[in-house]
Amino acid sequence: MTRYIIRRLIVSIPVLFAIVLFTFAVVHALPGGPFSTVGEKAMPEHIRLIMERRYGLDQPLYIQFWNYLKMLASGDLGPMMRMPSQTVNDIVYQTWPVSIQLGSLAVILAFAIGIPAGILAALKRNTWIDYTATFTAVLGVSINNIVLGPLLILIFGVWLKVLPIAFWGAEPPWILGFLPKPTWNFWTHAVLPVVTLGTAMSASIARLTRASLLEVMMSDYIRTARAKGLKERAVIIRHALKNSLIPVATILGPLLAGVLTGTFVVEQIFALNGMGRQFLMSIEQREYFLLSSLTLIYSIMLVLGNLMVDIMYAWLDPRIRFD
């Protein structure tokens, strides 16, 4: 397994390289540059040239890319061209933890609700519990972040006034570089964004868990387990659960990608200072370094996420061995 992980990581380096190269080329190909406009006006030519020279934008693209790679190698993600008191490293430090906190909490919520709900629905099949869970899940899967977020804001923020409608409850400096201080303020602010992001996920996990557990409960080895005289709870927990989670693990990959894109939307709705917002801003403002670095970070997170899914998959199913 360790060898597999190392190999996967090594293999992903050229992929990451290609992604960054591609992004780099595409953003530079967009018309206009970071210094072509000032608000709604055009930047004087002379000043634009000076600024472009300062950041090496006058160089051929391959040299710019090479310089960028050298910068990356030294741990420098690049300058913020239109916000000179900040660097890309600063921006990443400010925003990456927010996205990660949001995403992880949503994933945790999705599992914490999705799996028990799926199990409950499967075990209480065709009872009101099952119907309620299934109905909620169908609703949850079909409702979009863009609809759910404002809806929750309206209900819990505007009408009931029990939860804040915007902003994240934690800010730099972070604990250990990325963890929030777990204050009351943090949790109250986290509820709505996390629920918004986690609902669809938890609903699809619940549905899949239910279907898969139902199928597993029909399988021969469950009969074997029962024939041994095991209690139903032991049958479910020890024999059925792990098996029923295998199909759930297969959707984790796409799910993770969904979380990443979901954070874009949720950060926008709840005015969170996450990477998604910076990403959109960097395209608009042609902050080349920021955009390339964020793309790189997103790609690394996807690679690591998928690796984690593989590891989990192997852990769940001994028949799978990555060597």
Binding site: G32, E45, S85, I165
Partner: protein
């Protein structure tokens, strides 16, 4: 059995949640609070110079029993849709930055909120030499340079190397203005002031920007004969120079702090300021907090009562408006989709804010058929501006017939110059150009910037040209691009084949003078001459008006220029359409006189705190 257990478990959970939420609401007696105490201490420093230190102590997490003994500072809350790009006065070029800088730094002069006239700020008075080339400003010298410590809450006056307290002097302005001429700052506004100040353009356009000769810098026409006197020399008698002096670009900045911290000098904790407020907190991308500067001379505070300003960053106006509805901000823009509902529901909490931006269709004068002025006149006159403002803009604007709007020095009265909308004239012009009823008119392109609002605008134009000129919508190919793309596509350097025939753009003033309109946008020698105008009589007049010292004569000249551009015989390089006036949501407890130029003067804003607190349910 097992079902019962489940039900009990769920009941317990639900109960728990209810109890918890009840707890969190029903404990108003004991609150965790951050209390600020203002303590004035007079300290004697080594050099036996008296130094005033005001400590805004932040006593963290003190448990206070209600009713709160300390009053909350009067707090103004609003939002911006980006983080502050910079707090450096010489670099700032956007509203968000400029709004902060206006309140963190004093400027040479100020705009009067009502009349937009130039009124004293650091300069208490000024003399202009008879030839109009030398401006002498007499400065007050009691404004301290201060530094605010966000951790301790202390605001301390800066001292120099000898331990003397630092006050704002003419030399700080000399440094700031010379700095504004430095091309390496990359500031747009450098190019606005550079043509006027002696030697500034030489530095700005220096051949090797990385090694600008000291002689060039020394030659910039800014001097400080003494701490209280600032002398600025101009290249030509630009009478509008005074209208530029309230600009952030010419503000005094602390050389020693910039030298110490470099690019990071503007961060909270580093920044040295001299304005009515100090920067208490700058959580990048999230929020910044300003506190009233306790060391500011009493008479400079302004008419407002705001003691604390909290500006949050939100992604868009929709979120901001939601915060407004929730009483979490005092004022907000209104999303287009909500505008009608808002006007109906909150007529008393709506204000109209003009920003003096005028929007227009630009015409490529070198690209047929728009090389014919009659075609341009026809397209301009066939657009019903009144109807457009009412129907498409939902009333947010004023129709424009010429370029410069009221409030700009030299702008003709709004309805006196220019053809504006005249369908008969339009038809006739198009027929004279050889396209009666648009027959034989070639397909032309109209480029707008992206977004639904612009689409509504250009589709309305298509209808208008069909209705009043007979040009089928197929003849006008519309396209939308991002702002940067649009600027690139319409640049004078883009060859005619690739450039659109027409495009949408707007212009907002940098300083309140006609020269900033016809002179900086339409003048044929502008590097950014998107219309690719040839020089004409109007351009001679533009140069003359720029140097004319008699205000009355200038007004007359600008009237002539506008007439030459937009009158019945006019060249019509663009079709001015409307002056933007935005509806803004504003809670009734806020009194907020808006600034037409420069940053918002929050020190002149007031809040009825009792009403504000009541609305927040406190």
């Amino acid at each position: 059995m097992s079902r019962n257990k489940w039900i009990i478990l769920i009941l317990v959970l639900v109960l728990g949640v209810v109890v918890l939420s009840a707890c969190s609401q029903s404990t108003p007696e004991v609150v965790e609070k951050v209390v600020e105490k203002t303590v004035v201490v007079t300290q004697v420093v080594e050099k036996e110079v008296e130094k005033t230190v005001v400590v805004t102590e932040v006593v963290e997490k003190e448990v206070v029993v209600t009713p709160t003994p300390q009053p909350e500072p009067v707090t103004l809350r609003f939002y911006s849709t980006t983080d502050i790009p910079t707090l450096d006065p010489q670099i700032a070029e956007d509203v968000v930055s400029i709004n902060m800088i206006e309140n963190l730094f004093v400027h040479l002069t100020n705009y009067d909120l009502e009349t937009a006239e130039i009124i004293p700020e650091t300069a208490t008075s000024w003399d202009i030499s008879d030839d109009g080339l030398t401006y002498t400003f007499h400065l007050r010298t009691d404004i301290p340079w201060v530094k605010h410590n966000p951790v301790t809450g202390e605001t301390v006056q800066e001292v120099d190397a000898d331990g003397n307290p630092r006050f704002v002097t003419a030399n700080d302005f000399v440094y700031g203005i010379k700095r504004a001429c430095d091309p390496n700052l990359g500031s747009y506004y450098s190019s606005i002031i550079a043509p006027l100040i002696v030697g500034c353009e030489d530095v700005l356009n220096a051949e090797d920007p990385e090694n600008i000769p000291q002689e060039l810098i020394d030659a910039i026409g800014v001097e400080a004969p003494d701490d209280a006197t600032l002398v600025i020399k101009l290249n030509f008698p630009a009478s509008y120079f005074l209208s530029m002096t309230p600009m952030w670009t010419m503000a005094a900045v602390p050389e020693w702090a910039i030298d110490e911290y470099g690019d990071k000098w503007i961060e909270a904790g580093n920044i040295v300021t001299n304005g009515r407020f100090v920067l208490n907190e700058w959580v990048h991308g999230v929020r910044r907090t300003l506190l009233r500067n306790p060391l500011m001379p009493e008479d400079m505070y302004g008419t407002g009562n705001v003691e604390k300003i909290v500006v949050s960053v939100v992604p868009d106006v929709s979120t901001g408006y939601a915060l407004w509805l929730n009483n979490e901000v005092e004022t907000s823009g209104i999303p287009d989709a909500e505008l009608q509902a808002h006007l109906e529901k909150y007529p008393d909490e709506t204000v109209q804010v003009p920003d003096l931006a005028v929007f227009y269709f630009g015409f490529r004068e070198t690209k047929p058929p728009f090389d014919d002025p009659r075609v341009r006149r026809a397209f301009s006159a066939a657009f019903d501006r009144e109807k457009f403002v009412t129907e498409v803009r939902q009333g947010q604007g004023l129709p424009m017939k010429h370029f410069a709007p009221p409030g700009i020095f030299g702008a003709p009265p709004i309805d006196e110059v220019g053809v504006g909308f005249d369908p008969e004239f339009a038809k006739q012009q198009l027929a004279e150009a050889g396209y009666p009823n648009c027959e034989g008119f070639p397909t032309v392109t109209l480029l707008g910037y992206s977004g639904q609002a612009t689409l509504n605008w250009i589709e309305f134009a298509q209808q208008q040209w069909q209705e009043h000129l007979g040009c089928s919508p197929d003849v006008i190919q519309i396209e939308q691009q991002s702002f940067k793309e649009l600027l690139a596509a319409t640049s004078a350097k883009t060859p005619d084949e690739e450039a659109p025939h027409m495009w949408t753009l707007g212009w907002g003033p940098d300083y309140p003078d006609e020269n900033n309109w016809v002179g900086d946008v339409l003048w044929c020698e502008n590097p950014g001459n998107r219309m690719k105008r040839e020089c004409t009589e109007a351009d001679d007049l533009i140069v003359q008006a720029r140097e004319e010292t008699d205000p009355a004569k200038r007004v007359e000249m600008y009237r002539q220029i506008e007439e030459l551009f937009f009158g019945p015989e006019g060249e019509m390089p663009m079709a001015p359409l409307y002056l933007r006036i935005a509806y803004v949501a504003q809670h009734s407890w806020l009194t907020a006189p808006r600034a037409l130029f420069g940053g918002e003067q929050f020190y002149n804003w007031s809040i009825d705190q009792a009403a504000q607190m009541a609305a927040m349910g406190k």
